[in-house]
Symmetry: C2
Subunit: 584 residues, 2 copies
């Protein structure tokens, strides 16, 4: 099954194989990739497309002396398979240990922990410059996909790598796809270069000052070995533009590249997902709301930065949205500035972004949006504590967003509240409003406010005494459970839905002083710089005791969520213990 692969424990083993064996190795690598992805899920298309490149790289270069840096690193599986980590693709134990991204703690052949896009050229430039300062000689290679090319950091990196004046080899893996289709003028030039077999005079890489080579079939091991050999030990910044097929070797992934960029566990035979993905979900509700809104208001426009799938916006839905949908490609900074200006121009933009990626826009949130106070709307997906890979954590957004002036960050506690907040946000024209999408489909039968213009007003769900629980967004359920647990101790706590993460309700907090001894804050995110600390500061000079719960300031990695909740004491019974210790 893995006849050749089982003998590959290090890159040197690759160099001993002949072309026929390398081609068999490629098939075995594809089998191993599909094995892992079908069992635990992961990136499919990016890994299947880059198999031959990875083989050729390790055949030609001498890792880890020569240093290979993978952009996003969601295409590093073949590289991992060639650098002693095939266990991560074959055994269940190994799959738990080996992550889906590069990690220097896993192997000396990895140099960075990477999961966000567009960083490889900058990182490789740093390695190259360090090499030059130390008067060492080796190759530094960055592999970046065409989708990642549109990100600002990548473009800054290209411009600077071009003037390094020494060895750096950038492999631009052009599979004519981002996660979805590419967007932006950059792709005009890539197309021209493909169509002219790399010969067009108008070449953005040559314009920057790079040596440039084109490989028409980047899935040919032979052609890739030839091209890389010709660039090895070059003393000039070079771009090797290769054309590959995303998803190559797996029928379903070849046929539907967008769907198979990443997949949940699936049946290899028929490509069917093993998880039931049906049922009501936040994406359908949001999409239906927007489509409905557009019918009434021609100025509503959805903005996204290369991740339409996160929001369930498949090709069909994007077509229906038409000119009311703008995918700017991987260009989150542009997306925020663009949205701010859309609002200034009288349109109603809704920018859809994942919590982990809104991190790429701090200065745009601050300068382009908040300072100008334009009424753009941003929906943040997946915000909260999770068992995600360390590169894709979503627990920092409250702390990042809520300390920027003028922004209004809302945390709905139910689907009904989310829909009401969304509609208010779109219709109002006074504030930039960000809404943290609910992680679960919690429904509320309580009456829901429709007007949120009276900022920073908390909603009291239950008026009790002694203990007040302020539980934001997705942790409102935890608050409810905590209240039930306290009832067992004959405490009827006040339960508060704060709704606003960007400010405190001083009135409400002041009133609590009269008949409460303890305030508990629950937030689905980092404690440091978060929502709870602002409440604690308010009570700094009073007799109120405040207990803040949330995640610690740390990068967790594919953690077990239950373990995390235990460690963070995010469980009713643990919190009650803390409360009783104070009350006793």
């Amino acid at each position: 099954m893995y006849d050749i692969l089982q003998n590959i424990t290090k890159p040197e083993d690759v160099k001993k194989l002949n072309l026929g064996q390398l081609e068999l190795l490629a098939s075995e690598i594809r089998e191993a990739i599909l094995n892992r992805d079908s069992i635990i899920g992961g990136h499919v298309g990016p890994n299947l497309g880059i198999v031959e490149t990875a083989i050729a790289l390790h055949y030609v270069f001498n890792s880890p002396i020569d240093k290979i840096v993978w952009d996003v690193s969601h295409q590093c599986y073949p590289h991992k398979l060639l650098t002693g980590r095939s266990d991560g693709f074959i055994t269940n134990e190994g799959m738990k240990k080996i992550s889906g991204y590069t990690n220097q703690d896993e192997s000396e052949h990895d140099f960075f922990k990477v999961g966000h896009t567009s960083t490889a050229v900058s990182l490789a430039s740093g390695l190259a410059k360090a090499r030059d300062l130390k008067n060492e000689k080796h190759n530094v290679i960055a592999i970046i996909g065409d989708g990642s090319l549109s990100g600002g950091e990548a473009l800054e990196g290209f411009s600077n790598a071009a003037v390094l004046g020494s060895n750096i080899i950038i492999i631009l893996n052009d599979n004519e796809m981002s996660i979805a289709e590419n967007h932006g003028g950059l792709y005009n030039n890539l197309r021209l270069l493909r169509e002219t077999n790399g010969c067009a005079e108008c070449n953005m890489f040559k314009a920057l000052g790079f040596e440039y080579k084109y490989v028409k079939d980047g899935n040919s091991i032979n052609d890739m070995i030839e091209a890389l050999s010709s660039l090895k030990d070059t003393d000039k910044p070079s771009v090797l533009h290769i054309h590959t097929q995303k998803g190559k070797g797996y029928k379903y992934a070849e046929e539907n590249k967008e769907k198979w960029h990443w997949s949940v566990p699936f049946d290899i035979e028929n490509g069917n997902p093993k998880w039931d993905m049906s049922g009501e979900n936040i994406n359908d509700l949001t999409y239906n709301y927007i489509v409905d809104k557009i019918k009434k208001d021609n100025t509503v426009v959805v903005v996204n930065a290369g991740t339409p799938g996160v929001f369930g916006l498949n090709d069909e839905k994007r077509k229906i949205l038409g000119k009311h949908f703008v995918d700017v490609g991987i260009a989150e900074e542009h997306a925020v500035a663009f949205s701010s200006a859309l609002a200034k121009g009288g349109a109603k933009p809704i920018f859809l972004v994942m919590s982990s990626f809104i991190q790429r826009t701090y200065d745009q949130l601050s300068q382009d949006l908040a300072l100008n106070n334009n009424p753009a709307v941003i929906l943040v997906a997946w915000g909260g504590i999770s068992g995600a890979d360390m590169t894709h954590l979503c627990s920092f957004d409250i702390s990042m967003i809520s300390n920027i002036p003028n922004l209004v960050y809302l945390a709905p506690t139910s689907i009904e509240e989310y829909m009401a907040m969304l509609d208010w946000a779109v219709e109002q024209n006074k504030h930039p409003v960000i809404i943290r999408q609910p992680k679960e489909m919690i429904h509320s039968s309580l009456p829901i406010d429709t007007d949120y213009s009276n900022l920073n007003t908390y909603k009291i769900a239950n008026q009790g005494n002694c203990v007040a629980i302020i539980a934001e967004g997705s942790f409102f359920e935890l608050g409810k459970n905590l209240a039930l647990e306290l009832n067992k101790h004959n405490i009827n706590p006040t339960l508060i839905n704060p709704r606003y993460l960007t400010g405190i309700d001083e009135n409400c907090l002041e009133n609590l002083k009269s008949n409460h001894q303890i305030v508990v804050t629950l937030e689905d995110g980092e404690l440091d710089g978060g929502f709870g600390e602002k409440i604690t500061r308010f009570y700094g000079t009073s007799d109120m005791k405040v207990l803040n719960y949330g995640s610690f300031k740390e990068f967790t990695d594919r953690a077990n969520l239950d373990d995390l909740y235990n460690r963070y004491r995010l469980k009713p019974e643990l919190i009650v213990k803390d409360i009783m210790a104070i009350l006793k």
Copy 2:
């Protein structure tokens, strides 16, 4: 003196003038620019170079129906002079009122508050798309300098503007300068285009899909009117590449473009600054340290992103640093990733950046640097509460940086401590270390620690009781003064230098409980998400009263610092009042 200018109160007035009069107007505008700059300081070169463009824009287009967006907006003075704001350049009262940047609250001819670079194309794209959604017809024009072109947001913007499919006119003002000289491969292409009078086949703007035009003499009103007229009402994304002379019309600014990018008040006759800039300063100390270090260690390298002047690194010093200095151009994201990788590669990078601009790197600090825990060093200049323009505030860096895991953010309280921290940071290899440079030249005669590897250990400067003052960095002096003021009330407070902004000393804080009732935190920055709140959270369940002082979450604009300090109660006598109110 201002014969023509005095009759210009709106853009329509410009349209009535003939070419001779327009040329006289240009001289008067230059006179007005120099008048303002010489009295209150400001941007010189960028404004003098763009006079003819601004005149031609208002001659050809119909502002504010046609919308003009200025990148950075440090070149908006001529535009302001043509849109009813000449008072801001002529009278002392007016200079106070009118800012040095665009501001929609000042005039309907401005659309955004802008002070950070590289945003205009994205902002203009948003206005253009809003126009299209509303089925309106007008021109949207972005003006961006060649220096700003290297910023990621600008490049993302260009790629997306190219595919807008409708009217957007981007004027690329190429004066062959950033603040200092340009850096990056992009400038190879601009040079080629200049040298070929815009005719080179290899044209990055055409590659992206833009219509492209070149104007050799962008300081010719006639040529600019002709070029802009030919593009007016175009239905295609267009780039007008113009070549202008930075500082034009003022001998000193023409001769030394870098020095005259921005100036303190000066004598117009001889160009001499009116402020005494001599004496010991942080930049010389830092530079001397680095030069010395490089002699002993060939791997030390200074990284900067287009603002060498902020750190006193003039041309002469840059030449001395040689290969140990890398200006990446305006590309802060690249700079952080590059620095992280330099450290990974075994070099010792020191990235120099202004507080307001480190905002542009949140995700790179988090992902490229902190997650990888590489021992790069970053020096942050000008951090703290200030009377700066709202676009250049430096009060948010603690809150932005200190909630990212793994980073070590140090706040020296004296020059001696700064130098010790800098040397420790450069020599250690465990943490990414950021140091907030002291704002003033405070010297300390106390013994200074040289080893900061025992993270989050506070230093007790005076052991007292009842009240403990934890005063970070530049506010340590305020802490000392507060202590003196408390002495008058027979209180001998404990005074603590926390040194670390990224973590708390739990031991120290715990010990304070035994004989202190009040902890006061003083931080030179925003309270929300800052350093003080972490301390308050620590005491949340204790009887300790905590008073946090710092700035509010707000964008202030050219505020009087004393007014701010009063409003934030950052004065010993005000804080003592608050303390006594609790103790009574």
